[in-house]
Symmetry: C2
Subunit: 355 residues, 2 copies
């Protein structure tokens, strides 16, 4: 049979160390860094479209000790659940190309002694840059201004938003310096955000599972308390059972009508329905969202709002991040195959992204 | 005659110190801070629409020692030229509500011993925030992403810009940290920009008329040399005869095809036709523009480009800036009427905005 022959041919070629590739089609990493393909033998179910994935995994089960996993956080990605893990009894290591590992069953991995690595700090600066970019955009209405100019309204209606006819509540009330910023999840992304916003004159506070003794910013153990004492919340934490819908209606109420939510973590950190309700009713001041609960679906109510900036889960799409991820992936694979410590293991109780 | 009676009535009411208000209709400053009206007597030609402006000025000529001037930089604003200055022989002081004073004949003011004040540092932080916001938007395509999501393309076409079909040149190549930023005009706005971008990991260099001995950033006496050694140019200088079209085709060529121009100064700092040509041909990487040569007209070629972010001259439209300007205006007026030194005089050879 064609598919069996296909698989056999492949097995016979194996001189290089085998790495399973699980995700959504060929990842950009290999497009940009084809030299990876010379160093390791990658197996991917996507190269064998006629073979069902469970059969593919079963066929290669014994030979696979390490797997690269990508596309996490996307609805259509393959979750690394009990079933997948069970079909790979030799698996010792998962290298996730993303930062968030909520698509991987960490409890099961822990029980099986499988080390899970994520993208480490590869994306931290890009994610932080993007978070700050979203914040500046929401506070200073950059996308909305851009839309205003492109629509040809400037010569017709005068200054954005309403020229000299502005009343105080319509004039953009926000001033970046002096804003009280609450960072939810002070991992490496959150720390990079803090460093940047400090230079703008913002005051910083944070929430995380535990107070970090080396950090001088005020700590709030409760997100609601953080929200009550901040103008802006920036979500940089991992999605876990504990952080699912960590931003709910109570937090949004505490944040108040001038409050702004920035999310570069995962969509499900936010109760999206509640957020939409608060935004539509003007009960919070704005939002900058790179991630959504049901990507690529974006609540249609948001599409009309000038105080909302939407982005298609792209905070870390730069060649800089790609290149850093490439270096990390090579280093992790080489460490794995030479029995050295891996470079970016996650703890099984993910607290903040890239702790 | 109605207009004469109108003017006479007005003159008789004068118990408070008189301040002439010259600009485009009632400025927002007085809308937001009506208490200003209780402290001084403001005369504005816009309150006497039946009186031609030169007649209005002539009528009040002897009584006017100080004038507040707003709307500078806008095409339809009244230039403070020889004619206006000549009709106000008692004028000793001009308080400009903007930072740029290119609509005021500074040479003539100098000869007449008229002190010219601008908005000082009132806007510096807002302008710097906006410049950085524009830069992040251009580098990380935030407005373009927002447009992509709002147009409903995400579920249809996948990740912005082209999902996994991206080729390196289409993947956003920019990484904020490590970008070499050249600041043209290192006044207080430029310095605030430098402070912020330093926190992102950018390296900073600058051009100004003279090297500033207290500044450690590399200095280039020539904008072309600065451009050749930078990835990004941020324009924060005043518009003067010397800085008119300081960004011309030679500078754009030196900046190169991945280069980015950010302008929060004045439109005419840039040879806009050359900029449009370079952008349309892909000979520079992008632009973030808050100001244009013929506001509110924006070159239509720019409206189609994803690597360009456009804003309707609003970098400093915040209540924070308004409030700072109000404080400064009161302080300058009080200083003027009590013969104390003014707080924000410009030098007659404007070098960088808010030196």
């Amino acid at each position: 049979m064609a598919e069996e022959q296909e698989l056999k041919d492949h097995r016979e070629e194996q001189e290089l160390q085998i790495v399973l590739l699980l995700g959504l089609g060929p990842p950009p990493l290999f497009k940009f860094f084809p030299e990876l393909l010379q160093k390791f033998k990658f197996l991917s179910p996507f190269e064998y479209p006629t073979t069902p994935i469970h059969q593919f995994l079963k066929f290669h089960a014994q030979s696979i000790e390490v797997m690269i996993c990508m596309g996490g956080g996307r609805k259509e990605s393959i979750p690394v659940n009990w079933e997948v893990l069970n079909s790979l009894p030799s698996l010792k290591c998962i290298l996730n190309t993303g930062v968030g590992v909520n698509h991987i069953d960490l409890t099961e991995c822990k029980q099986r002694g499988i080390i899970v690595c994520n993208a480490g700090n590869s994306y931290s600066e890009d994610a932080a840059d993007f978070a700050v970019g979203l914040l500046l955009d929401v506070l200073r209405r950059i996308s909305a201004s851009n839309r205003y100019v492109r629509s040809g309204l400037w010569p017709l209606k005068g200054e954005y938003p309403l020229g000299h006819k502005v009343v105080p509540s319509l004039l953009i009330p926000f001033y970046v310096g002096g804003q009280r910023v609450g960072i939810v999840g002070l991992g490496s992304i959150g720390s990079e955000v803090a460093k940047r916003l400090d230079a703008f004159g913002c005051s910083i506070a944070y929430n995380s599972r535990r107070k970090k003794e080396s950090i001088l910013f005020p700590y709030y153990s409760n997100v609601c308390d953080l929200a009550a004492n901040c103008d802006i919340l920036i979500l940089c934490c991992a999605l876990t059972d504990e952080t699912y819908h960590i931003i709910n209606k109570d937090v949004l109420s505490a944040l108040g009508k001038d409050g702004v939510i920035i999310n570069v973590g995962r969509g499900a950190l936010v109760d999206e329905k509640a957020l939409v309700r608060f935004l539509v009713r003007g009960e919070i001041g704005g939002a900058g969202l790179d991630v959504f609960e049901n990507e690529p679906t974006v609540p249609k109510e948001l599409l009309e709002l000038d105080n909302v900036v939407l982005s298609p889960h792209k905070a870390v799409h730069t060649l800089g991040s790609m290149s850093a991820l490439y270096e990390l992936t090579i280093a992790n694979l080489e460490a794995f195959f030479s029995n050295k410590p891996l470079l970016s293991p996650v703890n099984y109780e993910q607290e903040a992204i890239t702790l």
